[in-house]
Symmetry: C2
Subunit: 381 residues, 2 copies
C-alpha cells in the first residue's frame, strides 16, 4: 500500500518521540547500545520510508528542473542537499539516499552522458555524535558527504548554496524553554508539570510564542541558504486539522505520564519537587493551521503541500515496552542534564508501568497524532 497524504489522517503515538535538535542541545543517545537512538528509531524509519513516495512526487511535480537547468540546477555543478537535525543515523542516510535517487533520476531523464554529482550535508548541533555518524556512513553511497555542525535556528551554510533541504522530526524542538513558564511570578509558571498538556492557557501561549519565533528564525536562515526554486521538505509531529487537543493525543499523554512519573520520584523522596517544577520539555506540536499561518507570515517560501502522512506504521498496536525504550532514547540526554543519570532506570520502570496501565486509552488516542509533512519552495526573488 503506497503511503498517501491525508489532511484528516491520524497517526500512532510514538510520532512524538522522535529525533531531536534543540538550541539548548540535548543530543540523541549516541553509540549503538540497547538504549541508544540508533537502536530505537525504527518508527521514525517507517515514517521516512512512507515519506519517500511523497518526496518523489514533490521532486517530479514541484522542482522545475527543465526551465532552470542552465542556471539554478546546472548539472555541471554539484547538487547540494542538507539534512537539518540529522542526529546519528541511520534514518538520515535513508532519507538522503531517497532524495539523491529521485533527483538523479529526474536529471537522467533530461540529460544523456552527464552525471550530476551530489554533495550531502548532515547538520546537527556540534554536540551531536558526528563521530558515530561519519563512521556509519553507507559505503556504497552515491554522494559526497559532509557534516555541518551548528544550530539550524541560525545560518549554517553560505548564501544560495543549497538546492534541497530536509528536516525531519527536529523542528518541534524549541531553541529554549519559554522564559515565562519558568518564572514563579508569571501566570504561565508551569508548576508540577513538564509540558503544556492539561495546563493553563498561558503556558500553551508561551510555548506557541517560542515556536513562532523559532520557526521564523529557521525559515529566515533557510531562505538565505536555499536557491530560488529549491525545495524544502519538513516532517514534524503535530496536530491534524480540526479541534484535536494536544492533551488528547498520544504524544500529549506520553509527556503527561513522563511528568507524572517524575512526580512519583518526588513523592518517593528521590528527587526534589523544585527540580521537576523547573524542568520543562522544549517541544511544541503545531497544528496545520498554525504552520500555514507562520509560513505565510515569513513570506520567503510558498507552501506547496501540507498534510498528515498516512503510513503503515500507524496501524501497529501500541507497545508499552517499546514506546518506553523509544522515549528514553530521545529524552535521556535532557533528563540526565536536569536529574543526573542515576534515576533513569527507576524512572523508566515507573513510566513503562504507567504506559501499560493506560494501554487501552493509548491504543485509541495515539491515532490522533499526526506526522505532518510539508513541501516548501523558495520563492525566486
Amino acid at each position: 500500500m503506497a503511503p498517501t497524504m491525508d489532511n484528516n489522517t491520524t497517526t500512532i503515538t510514538t510520532v512524538e518521540i522522535i529525533k531531536e535538535m534543540p538550541e539548548e542541545a540535548h543530543p540523541m543517545k549516541g553509540g549503538d547500545d540497547l538504549n541508544s537512538y540508533s537502536q530505537n528509531s525504527c518508527y521514525q524509519k517507517g515514517v521516512i520510508e512512507a515519506a519517500k513516495a511523497v518526496i518523489v512526487e514533490a521532486v517530479h511535480e514541484k522542482m522545475d528542473l527543465e526551465n532552470n537547468i542552465i542556471t539554478t540546477f546546472d548539472p555541471s555543478k554539484p547538487f547540494r542537499i542538507a539534512d537539518f537535525g540529522c542526529s546519528t543515523g541511520p534514518n538520515t542516510f535513508f532519507a538522503m539516499q531517497n532524495i539523491v535517487e529521485v533527483v538523479d533520476n529526474r536529471y537522467k531523464s533530461l540529460l544523456k552522458n552527464q552525471q550530476v554529482e551530489f554533495h550531502v550535508y548532515f547538520n546537527d548541533h556540534a554536540n551531536n555524535d558526528f563521530n558515530m555518524l561519519f563512521r556509519s556512513l553507507p559505503q556504497n553511497r552515491d554522494y559526497f558527504a559532509a557534516g555541518a555542525p551548528g544550530s539550524f535556528y541560525s545560518r549554517v551554510f553560505p548564501k544560495a548554496s543549497l538546492h534541497f533541504a530536509h528536516c525531519s522530526y527536529a523542528l518541534h524542538w524549541l531553541s529554549k524553554v519559554p522564559k515565562e513558564i519558568q518564572d514563579k511570578n508569571s501566570p504561565a509558571y508551569n508548576k508540577g508539570r513538564i509540558h503544556y498538556t492539561g495546563t493553563e492557557k498561558q503556558v500553551v501561549k508561551a510555548y506557541f510564542s517560542q515556536f513562532q519565533k523559532d520557526l521564523d528564525s529557521f525559515l529566515k536562515a533557510r531562505a538565505q541558504e536555499i536557491v530560488g526554486g529549491g525545495l524544502m521538505v519538513i516532517q514534524i509531529p503535530g496536530l491534524p486539522s480540526g479541534e484535536v487537543l494536544f492533551s488528547r493525543t498520544g504524544a500529549g499523554m506520553l509527556h503527561a505520564l513522563l511528568g507524572s512519573s517524575l512526580m512519583d520520584l518526588v513523592n518517593m523522596g528521590i528527587i526534589s519537587e523544585e527540580s521537576v517544577d523547573s524542568f520543562n520539555l522544549p517541544q511544541y506540536h503545531p497544528s496545520i493551521e498554525e504552520l500555514e499561518m507562520l509560513i505565510e507570515m515569513n513570506g520567503s517560501f510558498t507552501l506547496e503541500k501540507i498534510g498528515a502522512l498516512n503510513h503503515p506504521m500507524k496501524n501497529l498496536a501500541f507497545d508499552a515496552q517499546m514506546t518506553s525504550l523509544q522515549v528514553r532514547a530521545i529524552m535521556e540526554g535532557i533528563l540526565t542534564k536536569q536529574f543526573g543519570d542515576k534515576i533513569l532506570d527507576q524512572l523508566f520502570e515507573i513510566y513503562t508501568n504507567k504506559l501499560q496501565e493506560n494501554y487501552i486509552v493509548f491504543d485509541k488516542e495515539i491515532r490522533k497524532d499526526a506526522d505532518l509533512f510539508l513541501i516548501l519552495k523558495r520563492k525566486i526573488n
Copy 2:
C-alpha cells in the same frame, strides 16, 4: 623576523612528529589531556604561523582574482576552502583563518559593498575525532564550517568545488606500509627496524614507490576537485635539496631510536621480536627533487613555488622531554594498534632517555630537517 623560503635551510627535528592521516588510519590522540595531540602540537603551530607570510604572498601573486572574478572567483558564490588531514585542531583553525583573511582582503581591495562568504571544509579520516573538532570551532569565525570525512587519497568533494586546498603535515603518511617490506622472502624485508633509516636500499625504494603512488592518487583526486586557477598549499616534512640522507636528519634519528626502544622491550621479554619485525611506520619524507618530479609527472598542476620554510621555531634548542611527548601524541594510535597500550609508559620512558643521551648529536642533526612548503596551481583545462 619574517619567515622566508630558503632552499638550503634546515629545521628542527620535531618537524618529523607532525600531524597525521594514513589510509590505515591512525588518528592523532584525541581529547585534550597531557598526552593529546591538541596539547602537543605547538611546534606545528609555529610552522603554520611561519607559513602565513608565504600564503599571503601566494594569494597575492598567484591567485588571479582580477581576471577571473566573473567566472571562477565569482564573489556572489561561496569561496570554498578545504584542509586535507586537519586532525583535531587548533592548528587547522589558525591555518584556515589565515587563508580566509588574506583571500577576503584581496576581494575587498577589488570590490566595494560586496561580502564574499567562505565555506571551510575540514577533512580527515572518518575515525578522526570530529566531535572534538566541531566542539572547539572558534566562536567568532568568519566562515561556515563543515567536516568532510574520508581518505584524501580518494575523492572527497564534488568536481570543481574547491577554490583553495591546504594540506599540512599529512601527506608524508602513506596510505599503507609497502607490502614488500613485510614479506619475509623479499629482499626489502625490514627486520628489526620500524622505518627506512639505516636500512637496505630495497626498503627505501619500496617506501618511495608507495609514496609515488599515494601522491599521484592525491593529486589526481584534487585535480578533479579544485577549480582551474585554484591554489593548493602543501606542507610536508622532507629533505632539503642536496645530498642529505634521511638517516642523518633528526626525523630519521627519531624513528631509528623509537625502533631501538621497541627492540629494548623485546630484549626485556615484554613484546615479541616478531611484533617489531612486522611493525613499520607508514611514512615517507620526500626530497625537493622527488616532489618536483612527481608533480611534473602528474601533470594537472603547475608548481608555483617549492622550498624549505625558514621559521623561528627552528632555532629552539632540542628538548628531549618535549620531543618525546610530541612523538607520543602522534604515534600512540599506531603503536597501540600493534602492541597494545600497556607498553606505552615504559616505551616512552626508554625513548626519552635515549633522546637525552643523544642530545648533542640531535641538537646538530635536527637542523637538517626541512619543512617543505609547496604552492601548486590547478591548470586551466
